[in-house]
């Protein structure tokens, strides 16, 4: 390659012929600006200059509106669920115990407690009947081993 150095017309630098030819080759390639880019820029600048569009305002209002609406919906769902549960309890207690439709919660609690006591007593009787023989034997054995203790405690 020819490395004859000559002053560069752009900056007063010395450039070889190869460098100069290389620079000429590089300078021969350019990119045409895309008009769509300028159109997009103008659109974005125009959008930035205009006040906030109406649609986002409506969306923001709907967002605000849906928050209490969601709260109200959740509250309504809770009330409906409680009411349904209450009516189911009333229907069950009314059909099984023969109580009137105006049964109060205290009466419900009392009747539940009574039935629970009854069921516990029934279970206790059954266990007593089943284990009566064993208990008699153990009592007899206890009496023979320590006759004074039982009498003393009672």
């Amino acid at each position: 390659m020819n490395d004859a150095m000559q002053p560069d017309e752009r900056g007063g630098e010395t450039m070889s012929d190869d460098d100069r030819r290389l620079a000429a080759l590089l300078a021969s390639v350019q990119a045409e600006p895309n008009p769509a880019v300028w159109a997009r820029v103008r659109a974005r600048l125009a959008a930035a200059d205009t006040p906030a569009p109406v649609r986002p305002r409506i969306e923001a209002f709907l967002d605000w509106l849906t928050r209490p609406a969601a709260l109200a919906a959740a509250t309504a769902t809770l009330v409906v669920a409680l009411g349904t549960g209450w009516s189911m309890v009333e229907s069950i207690t009314g059909s099984s115990g023969g109580t009137s439709a105006t049964t109060t919660s205290e009466q419900l609690v009392t009747s539940d407690a009574a039935s629970l006591m009854e069921s516990l007593l029934e279970v206790g009787d059954a266990e007593t009947d089943a284990g009566s023989a064993g208990s008699v034997e153990s009592n007899e054995a206890g009496d023979s081993a320590a006759p004074g203790d039982s009498g003393g405690r009672s």
């Binding site: 390639v29 880019v37 300028w38 820029v41």
Partner: protein
């Protein structure tokens, strides 16, 4: 602004990013940034180098975001795929293999480092002075000289006899 410097901005962005769509996005964002920063322009550098500095900054950001793919050297038409076109020159039109040589040159540019490619584009492709190129690249003049020296050296080596063949 776009009429005056749009060509240089687009040429720099496409040369740096090697992707026409990404380059157009960079130019678009650069124009918006220029519009926003125009009141703060103090005129310390020339308007062209300021505009190109903003464009180059955005291109550097894009290059940092993605791993740069140098493209395939076997591209049939690397100029067209990158949105670049050849400026007709009467003295070169006789050269039958000029397009091929330019394609080789583009492929060689791909293999330069980002900094070297930026220096070559600013100085040789866009014709900026060393001072303007240094301002656009936000480095000292000596740095841009060193980068340009190494870039030209690498380009000469990569092109090999092609440039000599073009010359003769």
């Amino acid at each position: 602004m776009f009429r005056t410097h749009g060509l240089a901005m687009t040429t720099l962005a496409r040369g740096l990013l090697r992707d026409a769509d990404k380059a157009d996005d960079a130019v678009e964002n650069a124009l918006l940034r220029i519009h926003a920063a125009a009141p703060n322009f103090r005129g310390e550098a020339s308007l062209k180098s300021w505009v190109l500095q903003i464009t180059a900054n955005l291109c550097r950001d894009e290059l940092r975001r993605r791993r740069f793919d140098g493209g395939r050297p076997e591209d049939l038409d690397p100029l067209a795929t990158r949105g670049l076109s050849v400026n007709p020159t009467a003295s070169w039109d006789a050269a039958l293999d000029r397009e091929k040589l330019l394609a080789q040159l583009e492929a060689a540019l791909d293999r330069l480092t980002d900094e070297q490619r930026e220096a070559v584009l600013l100085r040789d492709r866009l014709g900026l002075s060393y001072e303007e190129a240094a301002a656009a690249a936000r480095v000292k003049v000596d740095v841009i000289r060193a980068r340009l020296f190494r870039a030209r050296q690498a380009l000469r080596q990569m092109l090999g006899g092609a440039a000599h063949k073009e010359r003769t």
